[in-house]
Assembly symmetry: C2
Homo-oligomer: 248 residues x 2
Amino acid sequence: MSKPTTPKQRKPKKPLVKPRGRPPRNERDFAAIRSAEDNALRQRILAAAADVFAERGFASASIDEVARQLGATKGLVYHRYRSKGELLADLCAEGLEALNAQLEAIADRPMPAISRLTDAATSHASDVVNRIGLHRTLAEAFSGRAAALLPASEQQAIAAFAAQRKGYEAIFTRLIVEATQQHDLPGGRDTAMITRIFISTLDAPLRWPTDMLDQLAEKSQLIARQLSYFAMRGAGASDTTLTQEFSR
Amino acid sequence: MSKPTTPKQRKPKKPLVKPRGRPPRNERDFAAIRSAEDNALRQRILAAAADVFAERGFASASIDEVARQLGATKGLVYHRYRSKGELLADLCAEGLEALNAQLEAIADRPMPAISRLTDAATSHASDVVNRIGLHRTLAEAFSGRAAALLPASEQQAIAAFAAQRKGYEAIFTRLIVEATQQHDLPGGRDTAMITRIFISTLDAPLRWPTDMLDQLAEKSQLIARQLSYFAMRGAGASDTTLTQEFSR
């Protein structure tokens, strides 16, 4: 149950409040430290929740297990999140915000669309391999299964995140359309379907067994490139384009 | 909840025991008819269970819901299956047997490996699109999540099916290796990883929303070909090979 799934999540458990070497110099410093600690704690709770939800499924998971995974009390988690649904919603918020920020930074670079698409694909695949628990939980949340178990207000929150995820995927569609217009991908095809298959290929590790991903943990950057290469090739990039893009 | 997901599963509910026009002529006929009816009932229970397990998740689903989906009593289902776990095991048995039979028939054809691989890919993708509930349930069963909820004997049954599924995937690896030896796919690559990504691409619809699949139901054969084309191209098939294989 508590087996970690990615190197990131494999850190040894630390005490939840770090002893500080020196006292803060003034109130502003103190607030900044508090806020940084708060955020660090939030990140640790969310990472533990992603692991537990992904491993057990949202329906079967409990806040108790999230606390155990963290090495903390149930009270500490409940102090921040009144329910499993709130925890799921914050997980979606944090996960999507990070993904969107990465993708938008790449999509705005002054480069040909094919290069931005390649980088976006590798970046997405890398996030999937390194934060598999988060991506599995997002997939479950957006499948509608998890939402069916939640009260109406939380269902609405999850629906809003599902819409945000569609916006994220639309950036891939835009890059594929641009690369086609720039003649770096073949034209005359069903772009919506190509985008769907393209992203599903990058998401392939979602369906791989956790023990396989553990074995492959050291190779995560290589796997991200293999996924991205397969997806770019599948979408129609020529051998010349692939050689160029994957030797940058 | 009871929304059907594929055209196959959209049939109007029929009475569970069909009135027979004429009485059977002798004991042997009678046994044959009983056995055919038994099998038809088994198939209908399994199709309903696949839908319900896929939609609600195995943990949240109940035999009650399977019966409701069927338009039958809970007793009728319990008469055949003592538990949700038994139902899941029989679903795996039936699903894998059908998949294996299809794939082995294709793998044994006297054709070049690249053609058998193309046909195997299209056949698998078609099965995924047409029996999405079954494939989602198999994926959940083999993820280890569903098994964690079952007693030891049923866990063993599911583990045996997971091994059988690996055998199924090994046939794809064999075809990819053969096609590479016959110079129809580029060599010098990580075949195990290519196979994993190849199958995950064909399995892409597992992650697509059910309402999207409903909209696409009429195009299921086209989608199967698009998935197979993307996967063959991603695995390295040349434009010439693709034109040849997809115009047969």
